[in-house]
Amino acid sequence: MNIAPNPRSGLVLGFLPFVLIAAIYLVASAERRAANPDDKLLPPVAEMADTVRRLASEPDRRTEEIVLWTDTAASLQRLAIGLSVATLSGLAFGLALGVLPIVNAAFGAFVAAISLIPPMAVLPILFIVFGLGELSKVVLIIFGVAPFLIRDTALAVAGLPKEQMVKAQSLGASTWQVAIRVILPQIMPRLIEAVRLSLGPAFLFLISAEAIAADVGLGYRIFLMRRYLSMDVILPYVAWITLLSYVMDYVLAQLARRGFLWAYVEERR
């Protein structure tokens, strides 16, 4: 436990599993191809690169749209709307639950119960109520993510020292002023972290909804290509989704660090 890597060897070690898995894939792919030239399961990298180039640059014959970009735009739009609404409601309701004992008494147990409903179980209801369009997919993301964000925010508020609220009031602050000047800035870093953790579930709900009923989107494409065993499309799409969520995670992490320097002072020391 006392042997720690230096920065450079740490980087090398970090890349090692990726390189390893790539090497295994290359070998396995080549072997299968050697045994069966029509193998679809593990397409060679060159074939995948060719497919990606086609998807990203040539318009589709039927829709005359460039498939990869229209899929990405549609999915990201759903994700952005869903996550934004979920974050805002997490903030507003979480603050109200955490700050006001009356609201907590009235809705605390209710939110806890709602958050236990498996979102996928209500997907049929959402399709029935909101139709098969964009709305039902967005609502699924909100339904899946918002209760967690609300509860996490309320817990973050409850975790702040009581002394701070009393101190603020003894400086003449009203409940509203305590909420926006003392509590809100202090829970923002935690909220951003909660949103980062919600990215995974949000993508899960998005892709599930798209798999079941959609005519465009990353999840729709993957499940469409499954019928043709087109691993040369599915694998790059999975990698692309992973990259997208990694970038979002990174951007949120940087946002928290840049915007709320004080929250990370301890960590740097």
Binding site: P161, Q164, K167, A168, S170, L171, G172, W262
Partner: protein
Amino acid sequence: MSALSMRNVWVEYGDQIVLERINLEIASGAFISVVGPSGAGKSTFLRLILGQEQPTRGTILLDGTPLPPEPGPDRGVVFQRYSVFPHLTVLRNVLIAYEFEASKILGQLTGGTRRAAIAKSEHLLEAVGLAAHRDKYPSALSGGMQQRLAIAQALARRPRVLLLDEPFGALDPGTRSQMHALIRPLWRELGMTVIMVTHDIKEAFGLGTRLIALDRPRLDPQAPGRYGAIVTYDLDLSRGGPVPIPRFSKSLDPSDQDGARERRQNA
């Protein structure tokens, strides 16, 4: 003016009686030290005056009017910990008091009013010797500096009563005596009533003009919550010198209460 009076105040949590029969008249401008063993209700006593807790029975008056049932700007407070806001710089920690006062909806000031408030905040920071650290975050300050900031913050709204809840308990002895040297002139200058809860007997005698000891004189082993703490000693410490010297100035022995009372009557 900031005279406090507590009339037959009781605090009970269910069956548990914490404080009973508290009758105190605290003169305006007094520096009260409150001492007592752990669990004797010192902090409850402070929270009562702060408005964070309500008495089960009895009334508390500040200058003849009942205390509002919530903390307010007429009563400042410094806690042992968590008194400053970690997300604000030193200057903004003080500035926020003026912002609360002047901007009800946004809690933010702009332009000339902001500059005036900054000037007032800087003046306070100078008084507690933190002017050089105005742009640091509290996490970058030492424990003593954080408490000095908390004091500057508490003084911003010119409270009539300043409540100190073991404010120097977590500090090392050197820093603590620095803080003593800081708080006394501030108290003299601003003429407010100070109520300080402390574990440090020396501090209690050294700073206060009056010492109140809370304790539970009766204990029923079958029902430990049956009897609450009362004021067991109420000593007048007002005198010329800042630190009483045993056998030369006033007696420090609590059993010599009658002597103290006699002297008070003579004075």
